[in-house]
């Protein structure tokens, strides 16, 4: 080393060492690699935090790496993904199954058998859909034994069973199952990917669930539900998750896989029992009582509902048969009825019709619109009201004819005859059966005034007293004739003059006429219409001529006209 070098050493010794060290780091690849490896995680972290450029840069190469690795070692990735993919796929399938279960639920919703009701109640208590519960109840099975078998060598990893199960040499069973599995695969699966997944043997079913390194074989008594396979798969996945590597390396030393029995025993929890022996003899007494009560209530409600329904039909029929009522609808709500329709004000009250069927008014709600009925009964009633029908008269309607019978005053008949056409639905009147109730009284009055005689002393001089009597008679007759006119019973008045037999017959005839005329004049003065007077028949006294006072008179006869035509 010369002086210059020594000087350099003195002046820049430390810096030179640092430069050498840096130079060595730059030149030696392994040091550079170590340096990069040292800072790479932090650098990636910082870059990722900073922006998305790192992700963008790595996307393509990493993607290609994964694709290449999957192509080269698909089984390795499948094994690695098995514990993750299994639950994910199962979850998806369970979701689909739940929907299916919901559909079953709806399908069996209408089941109302006693067992169905009982299950519905129990499903509701358990908080699970009814369809799912039915599936559970209708499948009877029990996992009797479970074998965990190494796929590599067929050795039994572990075996669990119920105490009651009959157990053969489980190692031999395990080996034989593996042999059969190999036999089936080699014999019947051309590409050797087929697997024996189930076998039936009388009451037992053998189910095999395959994992990457182990096989779970369960001996099941009865018919298991399909969902059990998913449960068993979940257990096998869990076993792989915890013991996958140990099972792969398994050479028959069970100590290398501790506590796997605990996992395996979960298989034995899957079972769906028949009802217990006691229960099989019949349902519990409270349930019987409850069911009987339900049946009784249902029967009572059914009978009551039937009775009310019958009552409704009867009410409907009765109302529709009642003149003047037209029912459009009867609604029933429990024991109450709501009636709607049309009702003529003259018709019977709806409540009265219901009352006749033992339906009290409080169970009735009536909403009737008024209308005019043309039913015969209502027309007759309307006519009776309109004309103030006497009790002695009967009214009825036949077609459009009002038929009147019985007895009534003539005035009433006249009113009826003049106004019957005002009644809607009536265009004819039949009064052939109607008699005048006041005729007899009138006839009696006529009789009392009929055949009256007024006597004369001589000429046209009335005997004392008869003059007044004639005037009173004339007054009464005038009243009678007035009434006869009102009643339309025409009455004719005949006055006959009479003389004794003394004297000339011709003179007597003149005298008789004069006497009749005299009487007629008196009657006319009382207002008796002169037109009704007639010239009396001249009449001479018969027998021996003598001066007989009793022959000197006028006789006034009353004759009702058209008497035969009167009712």
């Amino acid at each position: 080393m010369n002086d210059l070098d020594q000087l350099k050493e003195l002046l820049f010794g430390a810096e030179k060492q640092a430069l050498d060290s840096i130079s060595e780091r730059v030149e030696r690849r392994e040091i550079r690699t170590a340096d990069v490896a040292d800072i790479l995680p932090e650098a990636i972290h910082q870059s990722h935090q900073k922006d998305g450029e790192l992700v963008e840069s790595l996307t393509q190469p990493v993607g290609e790496c994964v694709q290449q690795a999957l192509r080269d070692e698909p089984e390795t990735y499948a094994d690695a993904l098995y514990p993750v993919m299994g639950p994910a796929i199962r979850k998806s399938i369970m979701h689909a199954l739940r929907n299916f279960s919901q559909q079953i639920n709806e399908a069996v919703d209408n089941s109302i058998s006693p067992k169905g009701l009982k299950w519905r109640w129990q499903a509701s208590r358990a908080g699970i859909p009814f369809g799912e519960y039915v599936l559970q109840k209708t499948m009877r099975y029990r996992v009797e034994q479970a074998y965990l078998i190494s796929r590599e060598n067929g050795l039994l990893v572990d075996h669990v069973h119920h105490e009651s199960s009959i157990i053969k040499d489980s190692d031999a069973v395990s080996a034989m199952f593996t042999a059969i599995q190999d036999f089936v695969k080699e014999s019947f699966s051309p590409d050797r990917t087929g697997r024996l997944e189930s076998a039936d043997m009388g009451d037992f079913t053998l189910w095999a669930v395959h994992g990457p390194h182990a096989l779970l074989v369960c001996v099941i008594r009865g018919v298991p539900p399909k969902s059990l396979r998913a449960d068993l798969s979940a257990i096998l996945e869990r076993i792989h998750f915890r013991y996958g590597d140990a099972i792969r390396e398994y050479k028959g030393d069970t100590s290398t896989i501790p506590d796997v029995e605990v996992e395996l025993e979960r298989c034995l929890q899957f079972e769906a029992r028949e009802e217990s022996g006691k229960a099989r003899k019949g349902p519990p007494v409270p349930i019987v009582i409850f069911l009987l009560l339900l049946v009784s209530i249902a029967a009572f409600l059914g009978v009551r509902s039937w009775m009310y329904s019958q009552q409704q039909d009867k009410l409907d029929a009765a109302l529709n048969a009642t003149p003047g009522i037209y029912v459009t609808k009867i609604d029933r709500s429990g024991r109450n009825f709501a009636v709607r329709g049309l009702r003529d004000p003259l018709a019977m009250d709806v409540a009265d019709v219901a009352e006749s069927l033992d339906i009290p008014a409080e169970r009735l709600s009536v909403s009737m619109q008024p209308f005019q009925s043309l039913q015969p009964e209502i027309l007759a009633e309307r006519a009776a009201q309109m004309f103030d029908k006497p009790e002695s008269v009967d009214l009825s309607v036949s077609g459009t004819t009002l038929v009147v019978s019985g007895e009534a005053p003539s005035a009433w008949r006249q009113t009826l005859q003049s106004r019957f056409s005002n009644l809607a639905g009536i265009d004819r009147l039949d009064i052939s059966g109607l008699q005048a109730s006041d005729w007899q009284q009138f006839a009696d009055r006529v009789a009392s005034l009929n055949n009256r005689k007024f006597f004369f002393q001589s000429g046209v001089d009335l005997v004392e007293g008869d003059q007044d009597k004639l005037r009173e008679f004339a007054s009464e007759l005038a009243k009678l004739l007035d009434d006869a006119r009102d009643l339309e019973y025409p009455v004719s008045v005949t006055i006959r003059g009479s003389t004794d037999s003394i004297g000339d017959a011709g003179a007597n005839a003149v005298l008789a006429d004069r006497r009749a005329t005299f009487a007629a004049r008196v009657l006319a003065s009382a207002g008796v219409d002169a037109r009704i007077l007639r010239q009396p028949e001249l009449r001479a006294a018969d027998g021996e001529p003598r001066a007989d006072v009793s022959q000197r008179y006028v006789q006034i006869d009353l004759q009702p006209e058209s008497l035969a035509d009167l009712p």
């Binding site: 190494s150 590599e152 060598n153 067929g154 050795l155 039994l156 040499d169 190692d171 031999a172 395990s174 080996a175 034989m176 042999a179 190999d182 036999f183 695969k185 080699e186 014999s187 050479k251 028959g252 030393d253 069970t254 100590s255």
Partner: protein, 174 residues
Amino acid sequence: MTPLTSKVCVVGDFAVGKTSVVERFVTNQFSEKYLSTVGVKIDTKEIDFPALGLKHKLVIWDVAGAEEFGPREMAYLRGASGYIYVADGTRSATLKAVERLHSQISEAYGSIPCVLLVNKRDLKPDWEVSDERFDTLATNYDDAYRTSAKTGDDVDQAITRLAELIIDNDIRGA
């Protein structure tokens, strides 16, 4: 005692006495009746190794006899921890079959503990395998025995020896 279970396969030509050997070992009895094995038959036998503090259970796969194995038989052998090759001392051709099977299995599954049993030692007058040939053959296996399933000679010893070899290989070697 720690339990250990191993898969052992018994292979060999037709009618060399494989099933009889297994039956002798497993039940300590011998059936005169020839059993035509079809496919595979499974037996188990537990051997105590007090010195090792170990109970070794052998699950014995008695594979149907064949001069050469097809895919189905090869599938049966997968994962075996040991092999029992059985030949018939009165038929030298069966030794050749064993040789073929040995090489076929070794090629497929690698070097695995195995013992050779040249069986039917009780039929000495008909014996076709010379001592030299036996010794030569024995070098290809971890051990070799002249056995008789009928009398039980060396059957237990041979299979127990295989069990030990398996322990050495699987447990101690592991």
